[in-house]
């Protein structure tokens, strides 16, 4: 388990250094995107339209923050991760097209995303679900917001962050996925549980 502190934009070479169980902190720019923003971003790409923000080398954050407007400035009040599996249907194309290096979320992602991360050089950083103030305190500034018409949870929030983490590297760019390992372990444990409770599979 090694601790890394990376600044955005992150290079493919740096991201390939990370292995599962490493801990990562990010300084620089991270951009939130949930279901609707992923869908729209991929539509833009298909139509050859530019995204309002260049995501190359940045981190995409599965998050719908609580924000408040103080004067004409937005402030991130609470900003923990949302469940990433919902983005599994978009993420491989998203990584391929926009060259993001880190996907931040909770709950892990599946084989499609794991394969894309290995192929194009990206990792999944698990941030503790619900730890919204821990996240908000690392957000130094809301640099901008795009696609507010999707509603505040679904908009693209562009955050300037300092030592954003801890992110548990749960999927690396070498095909390893902690969540898939845990799932295998759970399969084994299921047998023991059934035995203990006197149940039949």
């Amino acid at each position: 388990m090694t601790e890394y502190h990376f600044k955005t934009p992150i290079s493919e070479e740096d991201i390939r250094k990370l292995k599962v169980n490493d801990v990562l902190y990010i300084t620089g720019t991270i951009v939130t995107a949930r279901d609707q923003a992923h869908r729209r971003a991929l539509e833009y790409f298909k139509e050859g339209k530019q995204l309002p923000v260049n995501l190359e080398g940045l981190a995409v954050f599965h998050c719908g923050p609580v924000v408040s407007k103080e004067g004409d400035k937005w402030v991130a009040v609470a900003a923990g991760p949302t469940t990433s599996t919902r983005m599994d249907i978009f993420e491989d194309e998203f990584i391929k097209n926009f060259k993001v290096r880190v996907v931040i979320g909770k709950g892990g992602m599946g084989k499609r995303t794991t394969d894309a991360m290995a192929k194009y050089g990206a990792v999944y950083g698990a941030f503790t679900g619900g730890a919204a103030i821990l996240a908000a305190k690392a957000i130094k500034k809301v640099k901008g917001v795009e696609w507010l018409d999707l509603g505040t949870p679904e908009a693209l929030w562009i955050f300037e962050v300092e030592d954003f983490g801890p992110l548990a590297v749960a999927i690396d760019s070498h095909g390893n996925n902690i969540f898939m390992d845990v799932a295998k372990n759970v399969e084994e444990n299921r047998k023991k549980i059934y035995q203990k409770l006197g149940l039949q599979i």
Partner: protein, 294 residues
């Protein structure tokens, strides 16, 4: 003061208390889990959770950015006056809390996908009414996170399998949910009634304090058995592996139709937010779960 104003004020305070301060029983259970967790990854997650709880209290900010769907449980004394004014007061309190706490706007029209922006809409906030004797109105708010809601489940089991069928149903629900509901979770389990009744009872069971097992020893035994079994799965904190998958299990039941065995599992994330207050006939207010947090 008119009852509508009192209720609006109290409901606003309850929402604010619930989203910022976890109930004491949940905090204690998380501290115990941190002390006992043996997986390094799991321990890191529990540490982040405990740090976050402290920060939320310090900055008086919502524990989690998903401030949930606002659900009220109203135990209305039959002699409480102006009960017809309460629904509107709860809606106003929700709007005010969304703006002032603030809360994330979480009410979306399923037809147009438009977010109302103030956490209200058709049937939202939802109010569960119970009529009880007396002249006191007891109000509870549950701000229910979406991640844990997405894995709640109902099933019509085979009556012939009895309680064993229920045990299997619960274990499979926990395994299927995996990392998604932000473990360590709290489980509300219910059987009987009907499909709607089972899930309603299961969800309401989430309001019970963790340190209070069911007074019926047979049910308490089942709760303990399910708790131990869920923690044997190895899913662990945030699904990264470990021995803390659930913090507690509450079981509820209703009688069932001979041909049906409805069952339900309701999940609550570790940020199990709830707050209760009693409004008495003389207008005095007693905060039950969050004394001194107004």
């Amino acid at each position: 003061m008119e009852i509508a104003n009192v209720v609006e004020n109290v409901a606003f305070n309850l929402i604010k208390q619930a989203v910022i301060y976890l109930p004491e029983d949940v905090k204690q259970a998380l501290k115990k889990a941190y002390a006992e967790e043996t997986s390094a990854a799991g321990k890191t997650q529990l540490k982040a959770i405990l740090d976050n709880i402290e920060l939320a209290e310090k900055y008086k900010a919502p524990i989690c950015q998903d401030t949930g769907t606002i659900i009220f449980y109203a135990n209305a004394g039959a002699d409480v006056k102006h009960l017809d004014k309460i629904e509107n007061a709860l809606i106003n309190a929700t709007r005010k809390a969304t703006k002032e706490v603030p809360l994330r706007p979480n009410a979306v029209d399923p037809f147009t996908q438009k977010n109302s922006g103030d956490n209200t809409g058709r049937f939202i906030p939802y109010i569960n009414w119970d009529i009880v004797p007396g002249d006191t109105l007891e109000l509870t708010v549950m701000t229910k996170g979406g991640g844990s809601e997405n894995v709640c489940t109902t099933g019509m089991l085979v009556p012939g399998e009895g309680i064993n069928g229920l045990k299997k149903f619960v274990i499979e629900a926990v395994i299927k949910a995996g990392s998604q509901p932000c473990p360590p979770t709290i489980l509300g389990v219910a059987m009987g009634g009907g499909s709607d009744i089972a899930i309603k009872l299961a969800k309401k069971a989430l309001l019970k304090p963790l340190n209070e097992p069911n007074p019926n020893p047979e049910i308490a035994k089942l709760e303990k058995e399910l708790y131990e079994a869920a923690n044997m799965t190895g899913i662990g904190p945030m699904g990264l592996g470990g021995k803390t998958t659930v913090l507690g299990v509450h079981v509820e039941y209703a009688f069932r139709h001979p041909a049906s065995f409805p069952a339900a599992v309701a999940f609550n994330c570790w940020a199990a937010r709830r707050a209760t207050a009693r409004i008495h006939a003389d207008g005095t207010v007693e905060y039950v779960t969050h004394k001194g947090r107004v």
